[in-house]
């Protein structure tokens, strides 16, 4: 059998989640780039325009899901890259929980921002 070069343990839960989020991100990242660079241009961005988009529940939900999946996919990818580089022991545990904390902060800040645009009081 051919040697495997994946960063992940074959058949592992993290391997599977990395792939599932990849499929979702392929579609939503392409949509995000297309909408905000080709349909609307980046230099035309305004609070009013961002707010109008985020006030739609479908767009708001999609962007929150986008934030959560992108954070998971990115941070999980970084963690696995570091493990591949030989990260072990206490260092591995410290970096793992630092990445988890950074992810929580990033997601919380992203939700606060989305709420501010959507006119949801919680920000």
């Amino acid at each position: 059998m051919a040697e495997r070069y994946s960063s992940f343990q074959s058949g592992g839960r993290m391997w599977f989640l990395q792939r599932v989020t990849a499929v979702f991100l392929l579609v939503v990242l392409a949509f995000h780039f297309f909408l905000l660079h080709f349909v609307h241009h980046a230099d035309e961005v305004s609070f009013l325009a961002s707010s109008a988009r985020m006030e739609q529940l479908s767009y708001y939900s999609l962007m929150i899901l986008f934030l959560v999946t992108a954070t998971f996919h990115g941070v999980n990818g970084v963690y696995n890259a570091l493990v591949n580089q030989g990260l072990t022991g206490t260092k591995r545990t410290v970096i793992k929980w630092t990445l988890v904390a950074a992810s929580v902060v990033l997601i919380a800040q992203g939700i606060r921002t989305a709420n501010a645009w959507a006119g949801i009081g919680l920000y």
């Binding site: 499929v23 980046a42 609070f47 921002t113």
Partner: protein
């Protein structure tokens, strides 16, 4: 039946002259991944100016005088930012195309053409990036 090869550690970058297409694909995927997660944190930091902007008066928001609109307009006015955005597009497109290649490879699709699909990812990334330059640079001058 496929053969087993011992190519050694890809993480041993000092061996880069010996790397084959699939190993370059691996390295480019890691590099673009690092750039994208770094950008995600930066992106949310910049977008967070929307939080204080929400507290601005209706008139200021309607006139685009809130801190969020002003921050984005100022950044987009810099040619360097526009060029970095083109770079970001290139990085994102390669990661997406090579990621698709990895997903298919994991499913056992196109294993025999994995080197060709890497070269195709590179060429397509270049083509999409070049074709997008006018859109990304529009209004910068």
């Amino acid at each position: 039946m496929s053969q087993s090869y011992n190519r050694g550690l890809i993480e041993d970058f000092g061996r880069w002259r010996e790397f084959e297409a699939g190993m370059w694909a691996w390295i480019f995927h890691k590099f673009t991944g690092w750039v994208l997660i770094g950008y995600l944190f930066t992106h949310i930091a910049v977008l967070s100016t929307g939080i204080p902007a929400a507290g601005a008066g209706e008139a200021a928001i309607a006139a685009g005088n809130d801190v969020y609109t002003q921050t984005i307009v100022s950044l987009e006015g810099l040619l360097l930012v526009r060029l970095l955005e083109v770079g970001l597009l290139a990085v994102a497109v390669f990661h997406m195309l090579n990621g698709t290649r990895l997903l298919l490879t994991d499913l056992g699709v196109g294993l025999d053409a994995q080197d060709k699909s890497f070269y195709a990812s590179l060429i397509l990334t270049g083509a999409i990036t070049v074709a997008s330059v006018p859109t990304f640079i529009a209004g910068a001058f």
